[in-house]
């Protein structure tokens, strides 16, 4: 079974985002060696990094260039995907803020169903079968997509980018953007005061809960995150509801579901709705004063102790390890 798959990639500030390489890998997994993967990028110009897509698994690279595409343009992007859609057996989006907005628009325009936030893909009797967490991770659903094309959005960090093969090359092909009415305009993108990595996309997440006692003590976690590198600081619902941290950082039901390589829970007891958001992390570390805290039941490694002593020591040890490299 050789499928023709379209990967709808993401770029920001004129460069392809990391999640895009994961999308190409997910599309390749569906297409198989005999199928084909077309990578679609949007931009005012072709985004930087598009030239690497062939080496990372794409057969063709399609660049939808338009003066309005420097930022996300829901109407223009959806019109472009819809105009291409009929030619593919499957279309893969990212389950990111942009992808989760774009994919349903494309699905409605193409008149087919969409499986969102997918963590696994397979073929069964020629149909795409997607695995996805439901009930905030308390159950895993398997769905078959009978529509053509089959539309899925895949969760960041669920697929690993392919190893680079520089023997594979493809010229970037300019794509004609169909006419569209821009009813929705992204006027600006406000960056936070301190550029923060998103918890859904970071390789490491360090999260804090009520055990930190005071919002100012999140500084300890920020220092640890800085020592680790490529690390986002998350938070439990309790501290977000208390106004200590921004909702964007909340991990768990009514917050974000994360699948980082390493998740460090600090002063978090591990309420069911928090566990739902982080149980798919590859490795979980818990630091808590209460040896009976439920978080230890899901943690690979735990330290029972006062976080105000353990965390600074951990930061110090990590700095040592990092400086040895």
């Amino acid at each position: 079974m050789a499928l023709k798959v379209l990967a709808v990639l993401e770029a920001r500030d004129g460069a392809v985002r990391k999640v895009s390489y994961e999308l190409v890998a997910a599309a390749r997994e569906l297409a198989g060696a005999a199928g084909s993967v077309d990578a679609l990028v949007f931009g005012a110009q072709t985004p930087a990094g598009a030239e690497d897509l062939a080496a990372l698994g794409a057969d063709r690279v399609l660049s939808a260039g338009h003066p309005d595409f420097a930022r996300y343009n829901p109407d223009g992007f959806a019109a472009t995907v819809a105009s291409l859609g009929a030619g593919y057996a499957a279309i893969v989006f990212a389950a990111t803020a942009t992808g989760k907005d774009l994919a349903p628009r494309a699905a409605a325009r193409l008149g087919v169903g969409l499986a969102s936030d997918v963590v696994g893909l397979a073929l069964q009797d020629g149909a795409v079968v997607a695995t996805r967490p439901v009930y905030a991770g308390r159950a895993i659903q398997k769905v078959k997509l009978r529509g053509t094309p089959a539309l899925v959005s895949v969760r960041p960090n669920a697929f690993q980018p392919a190893a680079r093969d520089d023997a594979r090359t493809a010229a970037v092909e300019a794509l004609a953007v169909p006419a569209f009415e821009a009813r929705i305009r992204v006027q600006a993108v406000k960056a936070p005061e301190k550029a923060a990595l998103d918890v859904t996309e970071a390789s490491i997440v360090v999260s804090g809960g009520r055990g930190l006692k005071d919002p100012a003590n999140f500084k300890l976690l920020e220092e640890l995150a800085e020592a680790l590198g490529n690390t986002a600081v998350g938070a439990s619902r309790a501290v977000v509801d208390a106004g200590w941290r921004d909702h964007a950082a909340q991990v768990g039901q009514t917050g974000k579901t994360v699948s980082p390589g390493l998740y460090i829970a600090v002063g978090i007891s591990g309420a069911i709705q928090h566990l739902a958001g982080m149980r798919t992390a590859k490795t979980i570390v818990a630091i808590n004063r209460d040896k009976d805290a439920p978080i230890f039941k899901v943690a690979d490694y735990g330290i029972v102790g006062d976080l105000f002593e353990v965390v600074p020591r951990l930061t110090e040890e990590i700095r040592k390890v990092r400086s040895e490299r």
Partner: protein, 249 residues
């Protein structure tokens, strides 16, 4: 201003989920259901917008089983004027749900249609934008801040590592994220009043759709971990394990 809100009945977020004997759906026996938490932000926003305008009508819609009447009454108790239940067993295909909602909402002459960002049960996060597309309306999803003036909408939505500022004109569809507002609790007076508010029940039949549920399973249990040690003295061993054993550093 005429505002529609779409509300879904979902299992309580802290309830234990039990997979049913069909291995495709959950066992609903004894399960507590609540209004979808994100939809409560939509209800609150509708009420606040009407209060600010001093005039208008708010109508809450649900697509679901008969028991969703109770969910709709909660929204009426919060202050919504009237309710419509599109009685249906639902569908795993969000597009079919969107088609049924769009058919109802399209005839309503609404200036604004509000959804929650996602339903915490199937987590598909798609029906709001799909309804907008089917009705030919602009849509901003996952809104955390909203201002409106003279038929123009300015909404902020969270993206990874930033905030997008998005504008469109009314009529429009918005999906509401946590952070937009703090939903009010129904007052006793509101609960009494809700009993007398109109709640219309319409049976709808959904199309077959293109998504078929093959199975539902519990997530893989994580291996019970181990306590590396107590206090700061355990840190070097933890770091060693993370490097050598877990290869996580």
């Amino acid at each position: 201003m005429k505002i529609a809100v779409c509300l879904k009945r979902v299992p309580d977020t802290v309830a234990k989920i039990t997979i049913g004997p069909d291995r495709r759906t959950i066992d609903e026996a004894g399960l507590k259901f609540v209004p979808n938490p994100y939809d409560e932000f939509a209800v609150e926003e509708a009420l606040a917008l009407k209060e600010k305008a001093g005039t208008g009508e708010t109508v809450v819609h649900a697509l679901g089983p008969d028991a969703a009447q109770e969910t709709l009454r909660t929204a009426l108790a919060m202050g919504i004027d009237r309710a419509v239940l599109l009685q249906s067993a639902g569908s795993p295909d969000g597009l079919e749900v969107a088609r049924a909602l769009a058919a109802e909402l399209g005839a309503g002459g609404y200036d604004l249609i509000l959804f929650g960002k996602l339903a915490v049960d199937d987590a598909n996060q798609q029906v709001g934008p799909m309804v907008a597309e089917l009705l030919g309306l602009p849509c901003v999803s996952a809104v955390v801040h909203l201002t409106m003036a003279d038929g123009a909408v300015e909404a902020e939505r969270e993206i990874e590592g930033g905030i997008e500022v998005v504008t469109c004109r009314l009529p429009a569809v918005l999906t509401c994220d946590k952070g937009l507002n703090n939903p009010r609790l129904p007052s006793l007076k509101g609960i009494m009043a809700a009993k007398k508010k109109p709640l219309e029940v319409k049976a709808v039949s959904l199309g077959a759709g293109s998504i078929e549920v093959l199975g539902l399973e519990y997530p893989a249990e994580r291996q019970a971990g181990r306590i590396v040690g107590e206090g700061a003295d355990a840190v070097p061993e933890l770091v060693r394990l993370l490097r050598i054993e877990a290869k996580a550093l």
